[in-house]
Every structure is written in C-alpha cells, then in structure tokens.
Symmetry: C2
Subunit: 281 residues, 2 copies
Amino acid sequence: MIPALQARGFEVHALGRRPPAATVVFHPVDLLDAEAVQASVGRVGAVHLLHLAWYAEPGLYWRSPVNLDWVAASLALVRAFREGGGARAVVAGTCAEYAWGPERLSEDAHCVPATLYGAAKDATQRVLTAYARETGLSFAWGRLFFLYGPREKSGRLVSDAIRALSSGERFGTSPGHQRRDFSHVADVAGAFAALVDSAVEGAVNIGSGAAVPVRVILEQIGQLTGRPDLIDFGARRLAESEPASIEADVSRLREAVGFHPRYDLGSGLTDTFGAYSERQA
Amino acid sequence: MIPALQARGFEVHALGRRPPAATVVFHPVDLLDAEAVQASVGRVGAVHLLHLAWYAEPGLYWRSPVNLDWVAASLALVRAFREGGGARAVVAGTCAEYAWGPERLSEDAHCVPATLYGAAKDATQRVLTAYARETGLSFAWGRLFFLYGPREKSGRLVSDAIRALSSGERFGTSPGHQRRDFSHVADVAGAFAALVDSAVEGAVNIGSGAAVPVRVILEQIGQLTGRPDLIDFGARRLAESEPASIEADVSRLREAVGFHPRYDLGSGLTDTFGAYSERQA
C-alpha cells in the first residue's frame, strides 16, 4: 500500500501496532484505543486519511463480535482525523456489504449483508457518510472484493494452494464452479491510492470487474507449480451461504477514479508464485 | 420508565451517571466508558436489558458528532450484556431512521435517514441485529416517535408551549399544519416495558398511530391554559427538512406486543398540564 501512495507523492505516516515494511514515519498506536488514536492523529495533522485496518482473521472474521470494536474504532479514527483538520478520508469496505446475487454488483446495489462482518462494515459506511455530509469531510468508501498476492497470510485461497502444491501436498477444495472477483494486491493498493488522490465521494468498488471460476484460478496454480494432479476438486462442498458469483462493476473505479490495473489473472498469479518461489529459495 | 417495568414484576437495576427518581438498585457508570460498562454489566448479571440512553440535547442532537460515541457505546453495552449471559435486549431507535414520506411508516419501510442522528441509530440497529442473530440474543428495536409529558425538558414543543402560555408569554411557532405522531411519556414507558416483557424481535414502532397537526396540539394547550391568544401561528417558517406528516403504523405494537395506550391526546395533555400546574403551585 505504502509504495503506491509514495508513487503519487504522498508523505506517508503509518499508524498501527507494528511498523510496516516500507520506509515511512511510523506512529505506534492501538487503533482500538480511541484516546491514544486521537492524540496520535492530532500529532500527525494529516490532510488525507486511508483507513484499511479491521479484524481479518481468516475463518473467524465473518462472525466475530470483534467486528463491533472495529465499528467503534473506525468512527473514532475518522472523527479524530476530521476534528484535527483532515480534509479527505478513504475507508475500506467490502463486497460482503451487498446482498449477493447473480448480478454484477454496482455501488448503488441494495446492501443487505448476510454476515456480521458485512453488517458492521455497512453500518460504518452509513454513519461515516452522514458524518462527512454534516462536517464537510470529503469521503469515499472502497468496497474491496477478493485479493491475492505475495506475502498473503495462510488461510486464504491462493496462498494456501501455492504453498500446498509447491510442497507436494494434496489440496482439497470445492468443485470450484463459483465465480469470484480477484485482484492482485498491488492493483488493490494502486486503486486505493488513486481513490485517495481523487475527489470521488461515496462508495467505489475495488475489484477486477471480471469474476472467474475458482476452478480456473486453481488450475492456473496447478500449471505454475507443475502439480495440477494434487488438486482434489469436490473434496469438500461449497458452503450453502456461498453465492454462485460475486463480481464487481468497476465503472466508477475506471471512469471516475481513472484507475486501470497492471495485472490480469495470469500475470498476477505468475508474479505471486514467483515471489513465493524466491522466498523459498 | 422504571414504574412500568416494576409493574410487570421486573427487579430493576439502573445504570447511568445520575440516579433515577424511582427506587431501584442504582449502578453509577458513564455509559461512554466501555470498560466501566463491562464491569458494571457483569456485576448486575441481568437477564433483560433496556437501553434508552443517547445524546438528546434539543436542537443539537440531529447533527452532533457525539452521535458517533453513542453508536460505539450502544454496541459495547449490548455486547457486554450478552457476554455476561444476558438473554433479551431492547434498544431505543427513532422514527428518524425512516425515509420520511407522506405514508404511514411501518417497520419494513425503507430506512434512509436524513440526519446524522437517524443514520447513527439506523446503523446501530443494523449491527445489533446481525450481532443478535450471530449470538442467539433475543433482540428488539423500539422506534420511538414523538413524545410529551410531565417533567419534559425545555426545548420541546409541549413543555415550551405550556410554560410560555402559563407564564403569559407569547409563543411563536410555525403555521402548524405538519402532522406528528405524539405519545404521552407514560404510554411510551408502558410500550417499552411491554416490549421487554415480550418475545417480539426486530423493529417495533413506539407511537400512537394517529398523527395530529401540531396546530391542534397547540390549540388544546391554549384551551388548557386559557391563553390561546398568546400563540402566534406562522411567526416562523417550518424548516424545509420537516415533512408534512410523520405517523407510525403501530400494528406490531398492538398485535404482536399487545400494548394499548392509556392516554389519548386530550387526556395526555390534560395530565401534562396538571402536573405542570401542581409543580408551580
């Protein structure tokens, strides 16, 4: 994320518990501690805010009560930023805010989240939109779809598949017919940086605009690793709650924000596998 | 509120900064202090929770950033209650969550709040509904319409009009054609107590079901005080944002909850004026 912001000339200050890998001014703070956040945000005095932090433990974050803490933390952070003189805030939302259906999801689609995570993000967006309108804050909300890329945590599709297949382990998965909208993490970072650097307000989908069957993604990883034989399609059933397709309408991202991705699925997976292989070597 | 709960056999514990007038077990706590709330809620170990507290300073609460604090405080309170073993929570919402239109407002009407206050309440309801579903909490949300009654704070229609007319002061107001759904505070308390004591889940309108023109309310206060001549209808314009009618559909409150009010507008205003006169005597 940070190089994408620096490439646009932003002087980046990072707030969080652990310093990021990139060279920035780092301000150690627990984002769940509203008073510490207020002090820290006040010291930085930033003009732009990009807020990506949330509870994201794979498998747990959909249903965790910790989502409630992150609603509160997000409201407190944006308020502290605005009251400290901040002008523009961009906050990360999720495709899980939408009522998932067969259609391509555009930003004005009805939001009926199926999960506590989706409801918490959706509610945060609603309050911040009203708060921004009331206080004159320029505010955008990036609804993130699925992502993959180098240094992804385990518990996620692409990283788990690359690791298993590269290690000669079997990889059991669903039949893989469900279509999902995946972006390379560098493109997600680029999209958020472009959104911060724009004057676009409201919700903006951050996705590729082209959902592909999960089976296709895994078959490509099979080819890259040379071990397509290790994938067990249909070893487990797809959860009932998983819809057939989740695809972003990215016309706002392309036309209003003016962002175009660098990777397609093939080059993105190649890059991700290359980075994995390098770290193993 | 407390007598209405006690009348149903509840042992009432009150949490807040100041002790209520009624005889209850009082636990002093700042509801904006999440840690203190958790400790206090844990000590009480209640089975039912009724949460009415919010920032409500007349004239200011519609647009105040303090609404963000009450989103956080409400989430923390309900979570602490549930994690402490609580079974059923009822929280106060508002008719300002709805997109105000000419129709009578039923609970499944579209919520598009026009104000930060409405957005904050609506968002709180959305998160708590998802949280309750996830954790098995029995949860209802009482959408409060307009109220009046003895010991009402100044800055509100009925109390201000009674005070002005009783003191021989002129009372300047809008032409008063807008219809509003007003309930006597004792009926609001009775409705909330009935809701707590029921198993009804989801949103329930707390109103009279019969909106009346504000002019009619003021004319009745003119009669009660004997000084209808002091009312200046049309002295100020109605704000553009004020809709022609705000009226609750109360069929859920009547049929599912089984609550019926004690006061109509005439007897409610007579009671309120009587209580005012007694305190002045």
